[in-house]
């Protein structure tokens, strides 16, 4: 590319790559600021006017925010799991996508923490969960592990920033990036330990509620079975989410960024984990019916009120479970890009739906016999403040893609 047409910030681009003109980049960042600002206004309303601006109520203390929190963390599991597969299981090819998985992870975990900042009634007291920690509460385990893991993700993201072409010229930063890469297996191992516990304790959050027969599970020691199911479902859908975001990025960038064999590895592993999850989830469902019956809660009452009918169970496990599992298990189906993406969407949707079911539907099911069923749906404030982080995340991805060497195979796949 001759210097006349090269974007003015081309000195910051990764070595041997091509990026669009700065004005188009700025244009799309500005476009994203539109919905982002609506989200900011929604968040300011929540902080300024109190939470009555949402459609949450005393019957539904948890709504879209909490369901989205749990969902986004499950989707962000691709970060730790890809790191685990790359640095601990030593699947070499995954080095070509692990950087991007980390970027996605940073955004997902920042989103989760951001949503909590809006969701809790007294955000300025948020630090009480650390200072006055009740170690017996699942939510405490969640908060500690997620905060520590977010630090780990930032440490994993840091070398990417240091490897920006201009920053890397400075000796200290070059050395820092190099040594951080050497330490990456240790950092990834810490990440796996933390992730196992927070993914699990997010499952423990509904699982320990013995006052809500819909949500409650027995388990192993202090951990209900939902603890282990949540970990499994997170690692089953995390890689699929990574594939999905990579595909969207490739479409927006207009070029291939990762070789198909790398995507195939993630898809294959995801499919196998999804099958294991579905088998255990089915066993858990059968067991759950038995436990609920033991305390006298009839299974039929769980699905007696629309929109929470039996279709929920069939959709979650069937349409969003069995179908993507079958696609991901088939090597031929995985090769067809559109089919693979559909499988990824269904898989991620199924796990997100599971999170909604375990939080919001748990609250929807009346427990006392004279309890009336009350319906809930989020309002624009909740939607806007949740999606605000999606738009912000997209801006972070745009900045990272433009200036940081995220995709090692980009140069090879797109020779100048």
């Amino acid at each position: 590319m001759d210097s006349a047409s090269a974007p003015f910030d081309s000195a910051l681009f990764p070595e041997g790559t091509k990026r669009c003109q700065f004005k188009w980049f700025l244009f799309w960042v500005a476009v994203l600021h539109g919905p982002l600002m609506i989200g900011v206004i929604a968040a300011l309303m929540c902080w300024g006017l109190a939470l009555n601006v949402t459609y949450l109520n005393n019957n539904y203390p948890f709504g879209l925010w909490i369901a989205a929190d749990l969902g986004i963390i499950a989707l962000g599991a691709g970060a730790f799991f890809t790191g685990f597969l790359r640095y601990i299981v030593n699947i070499e090819e995954l080095k070509n996508i692990v950087n991007y998985a980390v970027v996605i992870g940073v955004i997902c975990y920042a989103t989760a923490q951001g949503i909590l900042g809006v969701d809790i009634g007294q955000p300025l007291r948020g630090w009480f969960i650390f200072w006055h920690a009740n170690v017996h509460s699942m939510l405490t385990e969640v908060a500690f592990c997620i905060t520590c893991y977010f630090m780990v993700l930032c440490i994993e993201y840091f070398p990417l920033i240091l490897e920006n072409r201009q920053i890397n010229r400075l000796g200290f930063f070059h050395g820092m990036a190099h040594h951080l890469h050497e330490a990456m297996p240790t950092i990834a191992a810490i990440g796996v330990f933390l992730s196992f516990f927070h993914q699990g304790s997010l499952g423990g959050v509904p699982g320990v509620l013995y006052g809500r027969p819909f949500a409650f599970r027995e388990g192993f020691l202090v951990w209900p079975w939902t603890f282990f199911l949540f970990v499994l479902s997170a690692i089953a859908c995390g890689p699929c989410f990574t594939i999905l975001i990579t595909w969207i990025t490739e479409k927006c960038a207009g070029k291939r960024l990762v070789k198909r064999n790398v995507i195939d590895i993630l898809a294959k592993i995801s499919g196998r984990l999804l099958v294991v999850y579905l088998i255990l989830k089915t066993l858990d469902t059968v067991y759950w019916v038995a436990i609920a019956g033991k305390v006298g809660a009839p299974f039929s009452s769980f699905y007696a009120n629309q929109p929470y009918g039996y279709w929920v169970l069939i959709t979650e496990l069937g349409i969003f479970g069995v179908i993507p599992a079958l696609i991901l298990l088939s090597a031929k189906a995985r090769q067809i890009e559109n089919v693979l993406i559909i499988a990824c969407i269904l898989n991620c949707a199924g796990i997100f739906m599971n999170r909604w079911i375990m939080t919001v539907q748990s609250l929807a099911v009346p427990v006392m016999s004279f309890d009336k069923f009350v319906s809930y749906h989020p309002n624009w404030v909740e939607y806007a403040s949740t999606f605000m982080f999606v738009w912000a995340g997209a801006i972070v991805i745009m900045l990272s893609y433009r200036y940081l060497p995220i995709f090692p195979q980009e140069k090879e796949l797109n020779p100048l």
Binding site: T140, M151, G171, G175, E182, T186
Partner: protein, 54 residues
Amino acid sequence: MFPFAFEWVPEATRYVFMGATYAVLISLIIILHYCAIRAFLDLICKKDDHNSHH
């Protein structure tokens, strides 16, 4: 959160939980410091090499 806080209860769960937290945080701090110090030392050694050559 810390053993010197007024509401600290000396029980096993708390030791395990907080112990693991402190271990993770200390490990991360050590790793970051290690990498920074190594990078700094590399820089000094390189400068020394340059100086000695000249």
